[in-house]
Symmetry: C2
Subunit: 273 residues, 2 copies
């Protein structure tokens, strides 16, 4: 409950932290973010960013985050240990470890830092797309809760339905925003960078056992540029280069509707097919 | 020196390890791999892979590696601590830390694992290119040693010369192999994935202060497919999506000449301009 008695946003609820020490916080899973096994990977990424931004020794804002999904997080509490491993003048390096019942379930690392004015270039243009308002909100079959926390609108590569069939292109491009709407910040952007269903679904035209092994997200935009998106849709695109012996890569980019590249991410996914 | 009295290959020399404990090995910098400040990042990635592949508890072969360049490695010895944080049935997660004189200089994580037969697809085609033999070997100005360990042949986006000028495209595509030639393995591939000069050089047409902050490499090919490349050239391509406030992303793919996608990588780079 928030101070005015209303329920918190599902994202804020899922990243609520209880501080144990400077370096350790406790969080818990929420049913709203459950995936096929354990919670949605994006919310794990988001709760680490939340913990980073609340760490008393934080320098700057998030530049890069890598999370490795070592084992499924069971329903209930889990502990996040964030340790600043090296603090430089303008960058700070962090080790990340999530444990649950004394088992390591997630490892990772992060880099935070100060930004400064420099030459810049928005080299990669945002893909052309119909406006979000002109596209229907995607519907998903029941059973996976986390998708209900997003308003997704397919531009290319919709999640397969029983009649869809195979595809020779792993690309999904979509408009995505939190549902209900919530002003964009590093926390929600970290989660959004993982909202692409596994690319193997698209190629196979079918739901397949699959999960992220490791996920790296780079925050290219400033805090102000992220905040400027407010509750607007973000244009997100992802693709795979190769599927081989149970693993595939995925690279993704997320733009603000104003054409600002907010974040890029890459992940390695395992699949069984 | 090797057992027959010949000098070892510069790459093997740079990744030679002295075992301290199961989890700890000692290595040292070599002048052949020096960069503008400290050693070339690729060789740091490679020495971690070497340490992984020699760890007595290793399961499978490298799937993913993230290294964060926390501070420059000074000339001399450094210690690599590799700790298996979680071992599953088919995957194993590792924490990586390099220290020198009690300071953390590099952090990271790795995933190793067993592969199994699955459906597969080489979705992204190798860029079309003239054969390596039809292109001249790239020349670099003196001062940065590591480039001399590679035979690079530009297809697109050569390293800028004083008269080159700015470019509106950050893409470099090249043939690259170890110089002198050395059979490809995970160790050399890890280093090769970082052989792109900083993309900011290309856009600015100038050498600029720049360095990798974090680098993630995914090994998509099997050990056999990597070994099958032998000493042949690899086709490598990299680009940036956005340069902003002192940082830019880079995504890269590396193919065997036979069209096999061997690895993908992404990195975040800082620059001053």
């Amino acid at each position: 409950m928030t101070t005015d008695g209303s329920s918190p946003h599902p994202l804020d609820d899922a990243v609520a932290l209880q501080r144990l020490t400077d370096d350790d916080v406790r969080a818990r899973t929420t049913t709203a973010w459950s995936n096929m096994v354990g919670p949605f990977g994006g919310i794990t990424s988001a709760v680490v960013v939340k913990a980073l931004t609340e760490h008393p020794a934080l320098l700057g804002d998030p530049l890069a985050l890598t999370v490795n999904f070592a084992g499924p997080i069971a329903d209930g509490e889990f502990d996040i240990a964030l340790r600043p491993t090296r603090t430089n003048r303008s960058t700070q390096h962090w080790s990340v470890q999530i444990t649950q019942n004394d088992a390591v379930v997630t490892t990772g690392s992060a880099v935070t830092g100060l930004r400064r004015d420099s030459w810049g270039s928005d080299e990669a243009p945002m893909p052309t797309a119909p406006t979000a308002e002109d596209l229907p909100q995607a519907a998903f079959p029941a059973g996976v809760n986390w998708v209900n926390n997003y308003d997704m609108r397919w531009i290319q590569g919709a999640v397969p339905e029983p009649t869809t069939g195979e595809s020779d292109d792993s690309t999904t491009t979509m408009w995505v925003r939190d549902h209900p709407p919530r002003p964009l910040d590093h926390v929600s952007l970290a989660s959004m960078a993982d909202t692409f269903f596994p690319r193997i679904f698209l190629r196979q035209g079918d739901w397949v056992i699959a999960g992220t092994v490791t996920l790296s997200t780079y925050f290219i935009a400033t805090t102000e540029q992220i905040a400027a998106q407010a509750t607007d849709h973000v244009l997100a695109t992802a693709r795979t280069h190769r599927f081989h012996q149970g693993y595939h890569d995925q690279t993704a980019q997320l733009w603000g509707r104003d054409g600002t590249l907010l974040a890029t991410s890459s992940q390695l996914v395992y699949f069984k097919r």
